[in-house]
Point group: C2
């Protein structure tokens, strides 16, 4: 039997298990030109919170009673499309189900296993990696000696953003929500400094760890961290805005204070969505794959086993329990 994860209730504030149902269902119908897929890895991402609302954030909301959809690595079980053959590895935006069908193979991207681990194609070698590169390097433009501050630094994007900035010669400082994450950033990812924002005053931490101020703030969280970064920013600082996790579950919008710093310090805040940069993915993959293979670039995956555990895996990620990229593995490679 096939199995899938449905959104059955829209969350108000934090997501809880009652928002989901895991149910058995029929095997998908596969037409003559379609591609039948066995899911291997499901991606959990902060932006999925926005899609669980009724409105449109930058992607339309999920429909109630329908499966959660995210980036999924899959193996081709059968294909009526000349571009895909049985056994091929692909990724695409697919439903959270053991097996699904991509009509006429639409939206599927081929995975070249020679380039890297299949799961990396929805993380370090995929759009989250390109997100980190675009924000930290293309928008952030760190110069050697600049101080780059990354929030949610132990997350999928944050750990890569910091390492990319460090390769560009910057001093890199990260904030994260647990001492384990802080240790991971400093000991494994080579951050120059990191701090646990749950146990430190933000201003004190930034004064200590960014003594020459902040030149680039890679914003994953918004809220009070953004406010603190504005206070500690240098003149002409760049603020790539990649996410505002702190507001995703907020029912009320508290507002961001101290935005006058944008004027007084000539800050450029640039919101970006990686879909605008998709065309750069092949070049990004070619650049970064060797660094991953050599171990110069560290990337941690937190892999939960079993489709039935996908809702809890997603909720835990949203609650900040995870170091690195959380995936749900639903079948063996």
């Amino acid at each position: 039997m096939n199995k899938r994860v449905l959104l059955v209730k829209r969350p108000v504030g934090w997501v809880d298990p009652s928002c989901f149902t895991v149910e058995s269902c029929a095997e998908p119908a596969c037409g003559a030109q379609d591609v039948l897929l066995q899911a291997l890895y499901l991606s959990t991402d902060p932006y999925l919170r926005g899609r669980m609302n009724a409105g449109t954030s930058y992607a339309p909301g999920f429909e109630l009673g329908q499966p959660i959809v995210s980036r999924v690595v899959a193996r081709v079980l059968a294909s009526g499309h000349t571009g895909f053959a049985e056994g091929d590895l692909v990724w695409g935006f697919l439903p959270w189900a053991l097996r699904s069908v991509a009509p006429r193979g639409e939206g599927l991207q081929r995975i070249d296993p020679a380039l890297g681990r299949p799961s990396h194609f929805i993380s370090a070698l995929g759009m989250p990696g390109l997100t980190a590169w675009t924000g930290a390097i293309e928008i952030g433009q760190p110069a050697p000696g600049d101080t780059v501050f990354v929030s949610s630094a132990a997350g999928t994007v944050g750990q890569l953003a910091g390492q990319f900035a460090r390769r560009a010669g910057a001093r890199v400082v990260g904030s994260a929500g647990s001492d384990d994450k802080v240790a991971y950033l400093v000991d494994r990812c080579g951050f120059d400094a990191a701090f646990n924002y749950q146990r430190t005053d933000l201003d004190e931490a930034l004064r200590m760890h960014c003594p020459r101020g902040i030149d680039v703030y890679f914003d994953n969280v918004g809220g009070s961290t953004l406010e603190a970064a504005l206070r500690h920013a240098n003149v002409a600082a760049r603020f790539p805005v990649c996410g505002m996790i702190s507001t995703y579950n907020a029912v009320d919008d508290a507002g961001v204070r101290g935005l006058q710093a944008v004027l007084n310090k000539r800050i450029t805040m640039t919101g970006f969505i990686i879909y605008d940069h998709v065309h750069k993915l092949p070049a990004y993959q070619a650049r970064v794959a060797p660094w991953l293979r050599s171990g110069e670039l560290v990337f941690h995956e937190d892999i939960v086993q079993g489709l039935e555990n996908a809702p809890a895996a997603l909720i835990g990620m949203m609650q900040g329990q995870v170091i690195g990229k959380r995936l749900v593995q639903v079948a063996a490679e």
Copy 2:
């Protein structure tokens, strides 16, 4: 006797007349290499509010008991500097006094009367004009057909920003604080639409006047107008941030809500300070002077007579009573 305007009290919230004293004083001492000046026009500008505070905004605060300083057009009365001769017209950051001395002529800029009216060198042909150009054109990058929204549009910078954007082919919409200002923008400055924000719901006005959304928001005011512009912005909108007048007199910072739009709509907010762009002034003047002479570019000056009226002139400008550039004329040209 000489006369000058001193700051004698730091304002909390709105500026009132008790912050100033106009007093008679000695004629300034002019050394052998110095330049003695007769002030003609004093500039009143929103940024002066920030300089009346104790701290530093982007310029250091004025000292208590010392004269207000702003851009002033002056005539050279006597010069020990080879670069300036009696009768020359100049501008510089000078004290609010009938006569003052520029030690060794430092900071004085020559005015070429063939290029335009002397008073324009501290407004449409000066730094405020360059401010409008930098924000509306260089940062805003309006494409033909884009919608450009300008707040505080009947002010010195706003009226020019809107007209520059319109020359670039944009649809230009302005907000201002009185029906007279709205009429001035539409009837004289050629704005496509304008509205009185004191008498209209912002969302309703922007829906009506920017039916295809906002591509460029030239922000002079911050606060609730910025929040509304974020709501009505298009994807990839540019927000040059030139001022945040609405917060200058605020004792508390209410915060800006809806900043998630920066992410969701990939907005770029760019604070800028014109001191970073001074080197572009000659090219700007050469470009714009013919437009002013031909009348293609409209620029309104509101000229108050007499140094003793300078405090009231400044307060009135800050309270939004003025269309265009308010100057204080303290002597005949």
